[in-house]
């Protein structure tokens, strides 16, 4: 099994191997549980994938040790997510015909446009920043991963990108706001 250090230093290929291993070890018991509870294959898939995201984020933040029994941990989160989903469906279904989610659509539109812009025009910077702030890759490793000569130039590039993204978000958010109003 991969260790925590490998996980947080991971490249796309490392993460792929990591998730394949987790799927093979933990998905069968999650699928059996969801099936027993009357859920479908697609529901088991959704729940398990959300559990993987939670597990990954906790591991990247150092709030969970990969050495704890990952299979039991993933099954535990999945059960929790399934029960919450079931409760939410009962409580939040639009009983009076008004869909609360539709009201948030207008906001979502400018949000999605912004994310799309960042993910395309600013992809290079976003990938670098993702590895610092989401995957929590240590500076030295990120420098190697992204081909910088050292920690110092990686740091400079990190702040250049952060500044660029910050200004883009400000500019775009104000533009979309104008457009919607």
């Amino acid at each position: 099994m991969p260790e925590i250090n490998n996980l947080i230093r991971a490249t796309v290929a490392d993460r792929e191997q990591f998730f394949i291993a987790l799927y093979k070890s933990a998905f069968p018991s999650v699928a059996r549980y969801i099936s027993k509870m009357g859920g479908s294959f697609d529901e088991a898939k959704d729940v398990f994938q959300d559990a993987l995201v939670i597990y990954y984020e906790k591991a990247a933040n150092g709030t969970v040790s990969i050495k704890t029994n990952e299979k039991a941990y993933l099954l535990g989160i999945s059960k929790h997510l399934w029960l919450r989903k079931f409760k939410d469906n009962v409580l939040h279904s639009p009983i009076d015909g008004i869909d609360l989610e539709a009201a948030a659509d207008e906001e979502d539109y400018s949000e999605n446009k912004l994310m799309h812009y960042l993910a395309t025009a600013g992809k290079k910077c976003m990938d670098l920043l993702r590895s610092f702030y989401y995957d929590n890759v240590p500076l030295g490793d990120a420098a190697t991963l992204f081909g910088f000569s050292g920690v110092r130039s990686a740091t400079v590039q990190k702040y250049k990108c952060l500044e660029k993204v910050r200004e883009t978000i400000k500019q775009k958010s104000l533009t979309y706001e104008d457009f919607l109003n």
């Binding site: 699928a31 993910a119 976003m126 920043l129 702030y133 500044e163 910050r166």
Partner: protein
């Protein structure tokens, strides 16, 4: 590092609570006097949230790609069969 990058670094240290106590006080005083700095701080906070959201979206796509390959490639056939059986027994 150019001045604006040092400022970005200071904003980060403030937001992530990494500054030494003395530096934190100086920075807070600056914030009170400088509207432009305040504005940058607010947008930088938004930027961290967007970066995390971006990371999460990317990760979800990576996981979905793993799922697709596990349930379509011949080399994972015994695994996918095992899962399908769980849902066909009902």
């Amino acid at each position: 590092m150019r001045t604006s990058l040092i400022e970005t670094e200071q904003i980060e240290a403030h937001l992530l609570q990494l500054s030494a106590p003395g530096d934190a006080l100086v920075f807070e005083a600056k914030l009170l006097l400088d509207d432009e700095l305040n504005d940058k701080l607010q947008w930088q906070k938004v930027a961290y949230n967007k970066i995390k959201l971006y990371g999460r979206n990317q990760l979800k796509q990576e996981i979905e790609a793993v799922h697709q390959s596990l349930f379509s490639q011949a080399r994972h056939k015994s695994f996918s069969e095992k899962i399908r059986q769980i849902f066909s027994k009902r």
